[in-house]
């Protein structure tokens, strides 16, 4: 059998099961709203969203790998490109761009022009500290952790806070080697 090459984000997006975008947006909105009511503190909500995203990410990575046929990335640069071009397209139907690389290639920004999570959303004055899309950063962190990359994902720009785009900073903290046993002597 000939090996199947990686599929493009568009091709996968056309084939996977989808839900109505507004239903998705409103469901997410309702979730955030409920968290704000339950947890009261905006900081706690940010944390909770990140945790929810993480739990999604550790499962979602397998679906991503199974359906996109991507193979092991050679470096973190390729990883970031794949997340932006294939990952975001496959799950959210939008593409992102990668920029602002630092010198040693371990830190970059993923910039979203279009974000389906925030349609119909306005932040009231009481929620100014809220990272509304914090679930996304959790998803990326969780997904990368399952393929042995410890990362830190933070929001740099957020349209809901008056910026002109959504910018996520992804910083590679360390790459955990996959080989067993992790240390021969211990």
């Amino acid at each position: 059998m000939a090996p199947v090459g990686p599929r493009s984000g568009d091709a996968i997006f056309a084939n996977v099961e989808r839900v109505n975008a507004e239903l998705f947006t409103l469901t997410y909105g309702a979730t955030v709203r409920q968290l704000l009511t339950d947890l009261e503190e905006v900081e706690e909500v940010n944390k909770q969203l990140d945790q929810m995203g993480y739990n999604i990410g550790i499962r979602l990575i397998d679906e991503f790998l199974a359906k996109s046929n991507v193979t092991r990335c050679v470096d973190f640069r390729e990883t970031a490109e794949v997340i932006a071009k294939v990952g975001f397209k496959m799950f959210l139907g939008v593409t992102a761009t990668v920029s602002n690389w630092d010198a040693d290639g371990t830190c970059c920004s993923i910039i979203l022009e279009d974000n389906p999570l925030v349609d119909f959303v306005e932040l009231p004055d009481t929620c100014q500290g809220l990272y509304y899309c914090n679930i996304l950063s959790g998803v990326i962190r969780g997904a990368l952790e399952m393929v042995s990359m410890k990362t830190e994902v933070t929001w740099i720009r957020d349209v809901l806070r008056g910026d002109d785009a959504y910018e996520l900073q992804v910083k590679l903290l360390k790459q955990v080697p996959e080989e067993y046993p992790y240390k021969d002597d211990e």
């Binding site: 059998m1 397998d62 679906e63 790998l65 199974a66 399952m146 996959e178």
Partner: protein, 165 residues
């Protein structure tokens, strides 16, 4: 070479007959899924050959996990991802390891073709019906009805396709 339509149909039928003789019964003996730390999280056998009790299947799973790791270290090529196919006299073992470390392997009749694509399909089913099941806990044994249903359909489809080849 020119071949009439009827000839080609006759040829195809005789091919199917010979395939049937070669594969008189289920070609897949059993399916295993091992989590990243080597625990057996799913086992299912098909047909009578190679059937195992719970203890034996657990033993096979952990044995395979260790052999897979050892093979990676012994391999003369760098970046080796472990054994993909083990051919024995009475069975073949095809193994697929996802990048997240979960291993899927089937034990089947010697010479069975297209197991890689079946394993790939099973991986997709696992992501759709196991990982998306909110009651499933990661790394724990798989008890998901939808996965069972879709898995038997996939295996059935594979058998039909094999007879048609």
């Amino acid at each position: 070479m020119c071949m009439s339509h009827q000839d080609s149909i006759a040829l195809k039928l005789s091919l199917i007959d010979s395939e049937k003789k070669r594969f008189p019964m289920a070609a897949i003996y059993s399916l295993y899924i091992i989590n990243k730390s080597g625990g057996l999280i799913f086992y299912k056998d098909y047909g009578s050959a190679g059937r195992m009790d719970t203890n034996d299947s657990l033993r096979v799973a952990s044995l395979w996990h260790s052999m897979h790791v050892i093979s990676q270290q012994l391999s003369p090529t760098t970046g080796c991802s472990g054994i993909e196919l083990l051919e024995a006299d009475t069975f073949d073992l095809h193994c697929f390891q996802s990048l997240t470390g979960t291993k899927f392997f089937v034990v089947c009749e010697p010479g069975t073709q297209h197991m890689e694509s079946l394993l790939k399909d099973i991986y997709e089913l696992y992501t759709d019906y196991v990982l998306k099941n909110p009651f499933y806990e990661m790394e724990m044994p798989i008890r998901c009805e939808l996965f069972d249903i879709n898995l038997s359909q996939a295996v059935q489809k594979d058998r039909v396709a094999m007879l048609g080849r």
